[in-house]
Amino acid sequence: MSLAINAVVAGLAIGSVYGLVALGYTVVFNATRVFNLAQGDLVMLGVLLSWYLLDVRHWPQVAALACVLVGVTAVSLAEERLVVRPFLSRPRDNIGWFIATLAFSLVVETVVTDLYGENPPQPVPSPLPSRAIHLGSVSIVPKLLLAFLALVAVTAAVEAFYRRTWLGTAMRATAEDREVAALRGISPTRMSALAFGIGGLVAAVAGYVVAPIVFSDVTIGLNYSLKGFIALAIGGFGSIRGALIGAWVLGVGEQLFDLYVSPRYEVVAGLALLMAVLAVRPTGLFGPGRLRRV
């Protein structure tokens, strides 16, 4: 039983990282209608930057976090400028931008892999103590708790930004109807840059909090991209809170699958969840309830 509870705790933590990827997708998608397939590789970049600054350069945690935030956001903005913005003026092209973000993620992954070399993943120090917190039979490692709290805090921050600030309102207006928003003087390109900026920040936070958990693994990018997508598909596209729930369902589902079935087929658990959702309720648990048009 305690094994199961520990699996749930770990699942919520890992799921939180998927949730951060899904949140990044949603922010970018709402403003640009672009599904940024490089989101997972931006998280991977955050992980590797954290490893380099903390483990290799021995920077203090706060300085490393600041640098990761700046670095990943800069790459995300570069992506927007290079491979996304050209498509904003081509409304009918619904394949090109996806391929372009795929190409960008391939470049990021190859560059980081070449720089990192053929080394096995190295541990990354966590800002929190490594001693587990015991609650009865359940033990929680603080770094897992950090991932969970990071998702809750970042989601709250993004929602507050949407609701409370002028820019957030402008972004929601753009999501609603880009042409009308443009008529009101909201520049679609600035909204697009802003969305990729926020998406980069979210990915940076995700990378920083997950680095102590997964170590400096250069192969996780695509995995996170796809898990974030599954979280969205489960929760329902466009719903931030739905994505949160979807991410936790996926994270916990995977951990329980590892425990009771086989860790070697963990990736099958995600697929099974995704296929079940697509078969039963294609728009997700919290989606609009009906396909827009079939």
Partner: protein
């Protein structure tokens, strides 16, 4: 069938390319090199398949390596257990397995549009090597090697195997050409252009997408079989997810949607990957940058850009073509050809909307509207922007679902039918923003509508078996007739991209007519037309009505509607505030107030 100069040039280039490839063994005759060429060609097959789903039908698949793996493992396991089966049996088994796999993936993934298919297929590309690593039947991490099986004999081998592989690639390319220029291919292109267009043409889009995705997995499976046979080895490492991305890169760089694009791109990308040598570790960067550059700057790829360039030069050299933007040629005024619309399934009854209601997130867009369009009658629908005209039109043709009320065609209710069935029942439509294949000719845009009622099965159409060629000719004749009716017969061979916006709406009218409907819903056909074109449109509308069609005309040009309509419905904030003959509306105070913004008499502050 005569070939035009463009076709002859293309055919010549293909023949030259094929000859060079066929003679390549003379130049690089070493067994190792031949092995590499076999490898490249087997992946070119996969790229050809990918192009059917992604290029022709616009369904982005990012997992061709998974289908390739299913084919490859099927073939290698079969040959390992039964070493005597030979290449043909391996190929058939691999295609069958790949086809089943394609349907299993496509059935759920295609239910939601957009990037769902891309993500799901990418997920499978990631998953298949992991599963293969853990299964004993696939030889786990080491894979399965036929070299280690003394009973397995590779025959044909060497140059004979290479030429066989090349011949199969040639056949697949030819097959793609036949597919693209058949009614199946035209349906795929309609789906790619826009799902709304496909539905309005009576094409069941989900089925078409599934057909494209299923078909695309066959060459991928075949590629897997040739890979397994020539390399005699399949392992998880040879079907990694990065292979999928390189195959996508091959299609995009070569030219998505063109027949020879995946071959050119596959030879380039996969071939280059074989000869990178010490640069191999930068493969991802090189192809990633190339892929992004092509996707951003040259979305038509090498083949498509070459053709577009030639077309641009040709249209520059030709003196200004018969401009549809010019005044209408006088022959447009002569009586239109007799047009006898086929009786729709619903019989000769009217198109009746009663109590139609639809809201979007709390805003009631259409609120309890009743109207009736009889055959041989033009019903005008006017109202200010946002009054619900287009929503009502979308409700009638099945694009939106009613919340209350019903739509009937004669006695039959059609409001529960999917949009493509409504189109087949005899209700055609045009779009406010024209939905046309920009790079195709005017005629080719109308043909898919004209062949809707012509019986011909898909296989006969692709393979040019009877009655394929005959129905194709009949469809072209019908399409030309429809174009003549709207006065665009002389522009039949123009590319749509070169037409002015207003004329594109007229092409849409011709396409709707070619469906031989009982009713036509026109969404602002006169917007953007010049005066002479409006005159021509008027005569077209008049002859449509005279031929017994029922027309529902959504239009901002109120004088036009009042001149032509038998009955007019005025919508305001989703409600029908007035209905009647044009004369009765001219004096209607309420209409004048709402629609023309005039104050009601006696409301006070008028000068």
């Amino acid at each position: 069938m005569g070939l035009g100069p463009a076709e002859r040039r293309r055919l010549g280039a293909c023949a030259a390319g094929a000859l060079v490839l066929a003679l390549a063994p003379l130049a690089f005759g070493s067994p190792y090199r031949l092995d590499q060429f076999d490898y490249i060609l087997s992946l070119v097959m996969v790229a050809i398949g990918l192009n059917v789903a992604t290029g022709f039908a616009g369904q982005l698949s990012l997992g061709p390596s998974a289908t390739f793996a299913v084919g490859g493992y099927t073939a290698v396991v079969l040959a390992n257990d039964h070493p005597g089966v030979g290449l043909a049996a391996m190929a058939v088994a691999a295609m069958a397995a790949a086809g089943v796999f394609g349907l299993v993936v496509g059935l759920p993934a295609l239910r939601v549009g957009g990037f769902y298919l891309a993500n799901v297929t990418l997920f499978f590309a990631l998953l298949v090597p992991i599963v293969a690593t853990n299964l004993s039947v696939t030889g786990r991490a080491n894979g399965i090697s036929l070299v280690a099986n003394p009973a397995f004999v590779q025959s044909p081998s060497g140059a004979a195997l290479y030429e066989t592989t090349l011949a199969v690639v040639g056949l697949l390319t030819l097959g793609c050409w036949a597919l693209l220029h058949s009614r199946v291919g035209r349906e795929f292109v309609a789906v790619r252009t826009s799902e709304e267009l496909a539905l309005a043409l009576g094409i069941p889009t989900y089925r078409a997408k599934l057909a494209a995705f299923g078909l695309s997995s066959l060459p991928a499976g075949l590629g897997g079989a040739f890979y397994a046979f020539s390399q005699q080895f399949v392992s998880p490492g040879s079907v990694s997810v990065s292979l999928s991305i390189y195959l996508v890169a091959a299609c995009v760089i070569g030219g998505l949607g063109s027949v020879t694009g995946p071959v050119v791109g596959g030879l380039l990308v996969i071939g280059l990957g074989q000869f990178l040598g010490s640069l191999a570790q930068y493969e991802g960067v090189i192809f990633g940058v190339a892929l992004a550059a092509f996707a951003v700057a040259l979305p038509q790829g090498i083949v498509g850009s070459g053709e577009a360039l030639r077309a641009a030069v040709a249209s520059y050299v030709r003196s200004a073509p018969l401009g549809p933007g010019r005044p209408a040629p006088p022959e447009a005024r002569r009586p239109a050809p007799a047009w006898a619309p086929a009786p729709p399934a619903g019989g000769a009854g009217s198109l009746v909307v009663s109590g139609a209601r639809r809201s979007f997130g709390g805003v009631v867009a259409v609120d309890g509207v009743d109207l009736e369009v009889a055959r041989g009658q033009l019903h005008g629908l006017i109202g200010s922007n946002g009054s619900g005209k287009t929503t009502l039109l979308n409700l009638v043709c099945g694009f939106y679902r009613l919340e209350a009320g019903q739509v009937r065609l004669g006695e039959a209710r059609i409001d529960h039918l999917p949009a493509w069935r409504v189109a087949r029942a005899g209700v055609a439509r045009t779009f406010q923003t024209p939905q046309l294949v920009a790079e195709a000719s005017v005629l080719d845009n109308v043909v898919p509508a004209a062949e809707r009622h012509l019986r011909c099965n898909a296989v006969a159409s692709v393979l040019r078996l009877p009655p394929g060629p005959r129905t194709a000719r009949a469809a072209r004749a019908r399409a030309l007739e429809a174009l003549e009716l709207v006065g665009l017969a002389k522009a039949a061979s123009e590319r749509v991209a070169e037409l002015p916006h207003g004329t594109r709406r007229v092409v849409e009218v011709a396409r709707a007519l070619a469906l031989e409907p009982g009713f036509v819903l026109l969404d602002e056909p006169a917007a953007g037309l010049g005066q002479s074109e409006v005159e021509r449109l008027k005569s077209v509308l008049a002859s449509m009505v005279a031929a017994g069609l029922g027309v529902l005309l959504v239009e901002h040009n109120v004088p036009l509607v009042l001149e032509l309509a038998d009955r007019v419905t005025v919508l305001h904030q989703g409600r029908a505030i007035a209905q009647g003959g044009p004369e009765s509306l001219r004096g209607n105070q309420l209409v004048a107030q709402v629609f023309l913004g005039r104050e009601l008499a006696g409301s006070g502050d008028q000068p």
